[in-house]
């Protein structure tokens, strides 16, 4: 946990995202019908989901650590990671809707990918409701940790597996090629992968700030 107090990776975060802002707008992209220049959204929309995944994975790890050790700090870290993940979830959904309006024709076309994402979003909203409905601290921590551990694989299946089994407008689903096919010339990779890392690190940074605030509140309340 010492690492969340260090600066070097926070500087790296800012440098990486700053780089992708320039590179994402200026570097050469494949000319594709329908997409045109909106293909650059790939550098900003997809990293939101990567950031969400990163913070949710971290929250599951802390939930498991809480269940094995029972340390209240791990519970706090897990919850704050989930909250950060939900924030990036919302950003991913909204940017996806925006992009869909100009490529699929409507903000919401009841596409399997969109519907699954919405259900997964409700799954994590239910996590917060469940957590706030239990007064007793240890019980709350334990129940929410168990819920989180089970919600994570369900979310993965909903967003990354089920839409791939049916026809979907979203790239990578139902015989619809993913963007992996287009960035084979590695012109897009040099922007996309740093963007993944940068935004993921940013989500970790925000989650760590939230955790440190929660820790201070917790210490104040237990004194």
């Amino acid at each position: 946990m010492k690492i969340i107090y260090q600066w070097w990776w926070k500087v790296l975060t800012l440098v990486l995202i700053f780089y992708t802002l320039f590179a994402g707008m200026l570097f050469r992209v494949p000319a594709l019908p329908i997409l045109h220049e909106t293909i650059r959204n790939l550098y900003f929309h997809v990293p939101m989901w990567m950031a969400m995944l990163t913070s949710l994975v971290i929250s599951v790890v802390f939930s498991l650590m809480y269940l094995t050790t029972g340390k209240p700090e791990y519970d706090l870290a897990s919850v704050e990671s989930v909250k950060t993940g939900i924030m990036f979830f919302v950003l991913g959904l909204i940017t996806g809707m925006m992009w869909a309006k100009y490529t699929w024709g409507a903000y919401w076309s009841n596409d399997p990918k969109q519907n699954s994402a919405a259900i997964a979003f409700l799954l994590y909203c239910a996590y917060l409701v469940l957590r706030n409905s239990v007064d007793e601290e240890q019980k709350r921590a334990k129940i929410s940790a168990i819920y989180n551990v089970f919600a994570f694989p369900v979310m993965l299946v909903l967003i990354f597996v089920l839409p791939r089994l049916t026809d979907s407008l979203h790239p990578g689903n139902g015989g619809n090629p993913a963007f992996g096919r287009y960035d084979l010339d590695s012109h897009m990779r040099v922007v996309l992968y740093p963007a993944f890392l940068g935004w993921s690190l940013l989500s970790v940074w925000i989650a760590s700030l939230r955790y440190r605030m929660a820790l201070q509140e917790y210490k104040k309340n237990t004194l």
């Binding site: 700053f18 802002l21 200026l26 594709l32 700030l209 605030m213 201070q216």
Partner: protein
Amino acid sequence: MKRYFITLLLLFVTSLLFAQSAQPTEMADAFRSQGKIYVVIATIAIIFVGLAIYLVMIDRRLRKIEKDN
């Protein structure tokens, strides 16, 4: 003769169709040469620098609170 003529005509129509799809996809290439995209990038960069500084300030303020407690 008429049949051959129609066949040729239809072949010509299909070649037209192919010519349609072979047209290059329109991209905003002029945007860069006119230099206007740089204005947008500058705006985004300013916003991000502002947010970055804000985030660093929050981190430092929190560090101070942690030290005091």
